[in-house]
């Protein structure tokens, strides 16, 4: 079933939940509605299902206006985040429910039995038909919910955070299984998620939403590699922001900071070895005045390191965005522009080593590099190294 959503708007009180949303889904597609919580994606799904009303706009299902139809006549399957299985019914009865409540289409007990068992086989739960929901694991319950939704042969399947309540491992298994299932049965499906990895892995196309608006629609590759704005870029992965400027030719440059050496700096006291009170020089100074024997050396009020941009600020200031794996690190800077940063933490778990750093400007920086580079450069905590984004994006906002 093809879906067209046109100019849908929705307010809850004064809060705008959906702001003139337009989107189109082709028949047989598997679509991810991706966005942070509060972006309106679940509300949109519930409007398409008929569980929520829109303030304005239309939804066309197979070209027919759907908003005037009641939810129980739209023939749309819905899967809830918390399964919403009927607690007092067995797995079999849960799946059979939709077949039994049909008014215009009566099934014989034999037909119901055949259909339900076929679906339970499809979700690998045919041995569990007489169990109750409370006797199943989360992943099993969600598969029952899916079988129940499919039992009425809907033309459209809507899934609201279908894996949201499951633990990480089951979630991964189940979403791969759902992708394969979709490849077999080709039912038009929309699922809501806030997990970009899940959306990327499962969906044919991803619709990124924020603040009640559609930010971008496209294949996972398109939205990841050609994000239209900083929100989409941000939402699809970790990133770093560099201050920069554009010259007359439109080339972007990094804006570098250099710490100005404070006057009379002796050896900088290592604050980590001192007691907490040394962080409050006013107090320690006072104690020194009253009881010189307790605190003989009042720590000097060190001047704050001031931030001075070294490179001249020419042209337009811009923000440069780069993913953690798009950053080059070195100990010896070459002719490129570099930013100096201090290593705070190394996380070697995973194929790439994750380095948390702090720039001289005080801003954090996350870099992911292959382990070989760390070993070659002998990088360890508190080292000061040079970083350069290999690939940056600028968004006009």
């Amino acid at each position: 079933m093809g879906i067209q959503v046109r100019n849908i708007s929705k307010k809850f009180g004064d809060t705008v939940v959906l702001d003139n949303v337009n989107l189109e889904v082709q028949s047989g597609e598997l679509i991810a509605l991706l966005g942070p919580s509060g972006s309106g994606k679940t509300t949109l799904l519930r409007i398409i299902a008929g569980m929520e009303t829109a303030d304005s706009g239309t939804v066309l299902l197979d070209g027919n206006e759907a908003l005037s139809q009641k939810a129980n006549t739209r023939n749309v399957g819905f899967v809830f985040q918390h399964y919403a299985l009927f607690k007092h019914m067995s797995v079999f009865e849960n799946v059979a429910f939709g077949l039994r409540v049909r008014k215009h289409q009566r099934f014989t007990e034999f037909e119901i039995r055949r259909k339900v068992m076929k679906l339970l086989k499809l979700v690998h739960l045919d041995n569990f038909y007489n169990r109750y929901p409370s006797q199943l694991s989360g992943g099993q319950r969600q598969r029952v919910a899916l079988a129940r939704a499919l039992a009425v042969e809907p033309k459209l399947l809507l899934l609201d955070e279908p894996f949201g309540a499951l633990d990480a491992k089951v979630r991964k298994e189940l979403r791969r299984w759902m992708r394969r299932l979709h490849d077999d049965i080709h039912i038009t499906s929309i699922f809501v998620t806030h997990d970009q990895e899940e959306a990327m892995e499962v969906a044919d196309r991803v619709i990124v939403m924020s603040n009640g608006r559609v930010e971008q629609m496209g294949t996972p590759g398109e939205v990841y590699h050609q994000p239209v704005n900083s929100f989409v870029y941000d939402f699809l992965g970790n990133y770093n922001v560099f201050e920069g400027w554009k010259d007359d030719k439109g080339n972007a440059h990094l804006l570098e900071y250099e710490a100005e050496e404070a006057e009379n700096t002796g050896p900088v006291p290592d604050s980590s070895k001192k007691s907490w009170i040394s962080r409050y020089p006013e107090i320690t100074g006072l104690i020194h005045k009253i009881l010189p024997s307790v605190m003989p050396n009042p720590p000097s009020l060190l001047p704050q390191q001031s931030k001075i941009p070294r490179s001249p600020l020419l042209g337009n200031p811009v923000k440069l965005f780069a993913r953690p794996h798009e950053i080059f690190i070195t100990r010896v800077p070459d002719e490129h522009e570099y930013v100096k940063a201090k290593v705070l933490h190394l996380n070697p778990a995973g194929p790439l080593v994750k380095i948390e750093m702090e720039r001289l400007s005080g801003e954090g920086l996350t870099v992911e590099v292959p382990k070989g580079i760390i070993d070659k450069l002998l990088i360890k905590r508190n080292d000061e190294i040079y970083v350069r984004p290999k690939n940056t994006r600028i968004f006009d906002e």
Partner: protein, 279 residues
């Protein structure tokens, strides 16, 4: 409940606390129950049953059954409708409705009875209309039914509202998405989910409906064999110094109370999940 060294008091402390609790319950609850039956049977089993077989006693029992047979179903329907409305929809005045449902609990039953006398009795605003149409409410059975409904209407709603609030509307939504109509949702999904909570509420409502004294006393008029319910009949017998008969009739209510408690305990034990929301 697990015992940890921190909460495990010495034997003497434990023994004292347990003994105090048992003694208190024994004196204030156990003893009166025993005395009811001792007094009822003090002149033998025949006297007990003849007191129950008395015409006025039988009329009182019939009247009590009639009143609760009307009041309890009314409150069952009202409780269901009110809890459904309160938990499944949002509407203006919802908070006010929840507060009003609790009103009969906070008003003295005698005052409740008095309100009905003022509303329907002689010299009330409605009295002219009622007289013209020959409708008798005060000092008649309809009055007893009305005040009993008033006094007992919070029971069902108060059991169901927290239960339905906890269960939310997801299962209902799922049923609708599968094509069920409103009635199908109610009978196949909502009602099975709340049936034990509902039963529990009805049980408490019934116990109170049969045992209500204050409100009923005000509107009854105490016409022997016509408008006396069991509690009023007990009072009348007692005032006539007919102690054996008074306690015999009272023992019926006591048995009802004990029976209600046993069923209540059984439901709590058998369906803990559905009752826990009420606590």
């Amino acid at each position: 409940m697990s015992k940890t060294p921190t909460t495990n008091e010495s034997f003497i402390v434990r023994a004292c606390l347990i003994a105090t609790a048992v003694a208190f319950i024994g004196i204030f609850v156990g003893l009166p129950i025993i005395i009811v039956f001792m007094e009822a049977f003090s002149k033998g089993i025949r006297a007990y049953f003849s007191a129950l077989a008395d015409d006025d006693a039988r009329a009182a029992i019939r009247l009590t059954l009639l009143v609760s047979a009307i009041a309890v179903p009314c409150n069952l329907v009202f409780g269901l409708v009110a809890s459904w409305a309160i938990t499944k929809f949002d509407f203006w005045g919802k908070r006010l409705l929840i507060t009003l449902i609790d009103l009969p609990f906070s008003v003295s039953p005698v005052i409740s009875g008095l309100i009905y006398v003022l509303l329907f009795g002689a010299n009330s605003t409605l009295s002219g209309f009622l007289e013209r149409h020959n409708i008798h409410i005060i000092f008649a059975v309809p009055g007893l039914v009305l005040v009993t409904i008033f006094v007992t209407f919070p029971f069902v709603a108060r059991e169901l509202i927290p239960l339905m609030e906890e269960q939310g509307t997801q299962e209902e939504e799922a049923a609708v998405m599968l094509g069920a109509s409103g009635w199908q949702v109610f009978w196949k999904v909502t009602l099975p989910n709340i049936k034990w909570g509902l039963f529990y509420g009805v049980l408490l409502c019934n116990a109170r409906a049969m045992g209500e004294f204050g409100a009923v006393s005000v509107v009854s008029g105490h016409i022997q064999g016509v408008t006396t319910t069991i509690p009023l009949h007990v009072e009348a017998l007692y005032n006539e110094y007919n102690f054996v008969a008074a306690f015999s009739v009272a023992s019926i209510l006591t048995l009802l109370a004990l029976f209600t408690l046993v069923i209540k305990r059984y439901i709590e034990y058998r369906f803990p999940g559905e009752i826990k929301a009420l606590k």
